[in-house]
């Protein structure tokens, strides 16, 4: 039921995203463009500019929503979000380095993913006792601290690169850091990553519910805690890496989307994980629609919109529930 509503809303925003822009196209015409093989200018705009962008935005948002929900469970911490363990820092440091040396756009993507992957391996190595060795015990604070310190290290490198970057590259770098869907040409890798993430973790949702009660309680209920923690860490990190590679470090989605859903519908991971994917995708797609239409023809980075809308919405939901 929740999924149906979110899914329909996402579909509606998807169609509107394809319709609106510098040239408005009626929804009916959008359907024709999607269905037909003709190649007039409207089809061109819809199919090769707006479609990849909307799909890429949806996939990135969905990945961030899931990654956030997963890390909040793994760390048992409501403040956890996809970037807290340094994945985005690694991606950003490498992507900015690629931009600094003005490499082509695809090598920026490759660099971003490489950086994210290195950061994942680094945390995996440093926190191996917490993640994949030893006994189930409640070790979340150490994993969180390890990741946070790594993230801080990447942050310093990023600042360093911004400080030495020539003026003409600075704008692109800041846009990347804020999260930007401009120039997404190949949404398929992110969509495939989204499908893999769903298949890899949604079947484990009942175990994740139990894991929230603590490692020892979960182990006593028959969950292989050490294995599950490693799986959650890898899936969440790779999802975040795929999202960041597609769209830069879009903020706020991974933190807020799972919380909004929790406040509205409860904390059952079986519902929450797919719902986070739908709502995260919906949010980024909608935010990008606003980002590229509100001061058209100029475009804002989508990350600005997600935070500008996300902050008041989240605060409202949080305070409404206060006694």
């Amino acid at each position: 039921m929740i999924w149906t509503v979110l899914g329909l809303a996402a579909l509606a925003v998807f169609v509107v995203s394809l319709a609106l822009g510098s040239i408005a196209v009626s929804p009916l015409r959008v359907m024709q463009a999607l269905a037909s093989q003709s190649t007039d200018v409207i089809d061109e705009i819809v199919l090769s500019l707006r479609l990849p962008r909307a799909l890429g935005g949806f996939a990135a948002g969905a990945l961030l929503g899931m990654a956030g929900a997963l890390l909040q469970v793994l760390l048992r911490n409501p403040l956890a979000e996809p970037y807290v363990l340094g994945v985005s820092g690694g991606a950003a440091a490498f992507a900015l380095a690629a931009m600094l040396f003005s490499l082509s756009w695809w090598s920026v993507d490759v660099a971003a993913f490489t950086g994210a992957f290195l950061s994942i391996l680094l945390v995996l190595g440093l926190a191996r006792r917490e993640l994949w060795r030893g006994e189930p015990q409640d070790t979340s604070p150490r994993l969180l601290l390890t990741g946070a310190v790594i993230a801080a290290g990447w942050g310093a490198l990023i600042t360093l690169m911004l400080a030495v970057a020539p003026e003409n590259r600075l704008r692109g770098m800041v846009f990347w850091l804020t999260g930007d869907l401009n120039g997404v040409a190949m949404p398929w890798t992110a969509l495939i990553a989204l499908a893999i993430t769903l298949v890899a973790i949604v079947p484990a949702a009942p175990q994740l519910n139990v894991l929230l009660r603590g490692d020892i309680a979960a182990e006593a209920l028959g969950v292989r805690v050490v294995r599950l923690r490693l799986r959650v860490y890898l899936v969440a990190s790779l999802a975040a890496a795929a999202a960041v590679t597609t769209a830069g470090t879009i903020g706020f989605i991974g933190l807020v989307v799972p919380h909004v859903l929790r406040l509205a519908f409860g904390n059952d991971q079986r519902m929450l994980l797919p719902a986070s994917a739908l709502a995260g995708g919906l949010a980024v797609m909608g935010a990008d629609l606003i980002a590229r239409t509100v001061i058209a023809p100029a475009q804002l980075p989508v990350g600005v919109i997600t935070a500008l809308i996300g902050v008041p919405v989240f605060l409202w939901m949080l305070l409404r529930r206060a006694p």
Partner: protein
């Protein structure tokens, strides 16, 4: 052989030996109290008996089968563990929290059946928590949280309960209610409870057997009144105790300092 069997079990904390070569059978129908001073190894022993610490899996067997040979969910349907602390980072209703312990009984896609919901209601009823079902766990007091955790453990519907300090934070009324509920639960079928507890008098009243740890590797096991005696308990806790009796009630109380042999020495 039914029940929990511990054979030549040695538990350590770092280089310190907590329990040396313990061999003991915990038979169905018994209610065991594990007593001992702080740091004597009660939690370590209970975790080992539950099979969640991987150190002693082969020294402990359940129904004649070593813990290492049990499948994870099969074991979770046979024994339930209530850890000393549980986590509630996110809000959830008491009912949903209790029902999480139905995990080993879930089949298919992992959604609860009507039977699971009935078990959760029954467990809440048993501890007088019916009215708490829709409360948020984050709004509970320490004692209420403890009773919810106990209800969750009961809801798991395993014939052996391992409870780590189930009475902590409870007032005397609820301590007695919980122990009465547990005794009734044990008595009705061939089930057993092993719980750690600091209140020796409640243990003497409700437990059938006791295992007394002294933290130096020694353990005394047997009928509760043979083990939790003033002499043995006093020696294990390092403070002299005496048994006083009045109108058919008995209580172990600490000896007044002025008459303490430790002072006179």
């Amino acid at each position: 052989m039914n029940g929990l069997q511990v054979t030549d079990l040695t538990l350590r904390a770092g280089s310190r030996v907590l329990i040396a070569d313990l061999t003991q059978t915990f038979a169905p129908g018994d209610m065991w109290c594990v007593a001992g001073p702080n740091g004597a190894g009660k939690t370590t022993l209970i975790a080992a008996m539950a099979g969640v610490s991987k150190t002693a899996l082969n020294a402990i067997s359940l129904d004649g089968k070593a813990l290492s040979a049990w499948g994870a969910s099969e074991l979770a349907r046979r024994r339930a563990l209530m850890p000393q602390a549980s986590h509630d980072a996110f809000s959830a209703t008491v009912f949903d929290t209790v029902m999480l312990n139905r995990f080993p009984h879930l089949t298919g896609w992992g959604w609860e059946s009507e039977a699971d919901r009935a078990a959760a209601h029954a467990a809440l009823d048993m501890l007088g928590l019916t009215e708490f079902a829709s409360r948020d766990v984050l709004s509970l007091s320490g004692g209420e949280r403890q009773r919810v955790a106990l209800a969750a453990t009961l809801c798991q519907d395993a014939p052996l309960l391992l409870l780590d300090e189930p009475l902590a934070h409870l007032d005397v009324h609820h301590q007695i209610d919980c122990l009465e509920a547990l005794s009734g639960w044990v008595g009705s079928k061939q089930r057993s409870v092993i719980f750690s507890c600091h209140d020796l008098n409640l243990a003497r009243r409700f437990a059938t057997h006791a295992l007394l740890l002294d933290g130096a590797g020694h353990a005394y096991a047997g009928l509760v009144r043979d083990v939790l005696t003033p002499e043995r308990a006093g020696a294990a806790f390092g403070y002299p105790l005496t048994l006083i009796q009045q109108d058919g009630h008995e209580a172990l109380v600490p000896v007044m300092r002025s008459t303490s042999p430790y002072i006179s020495l």
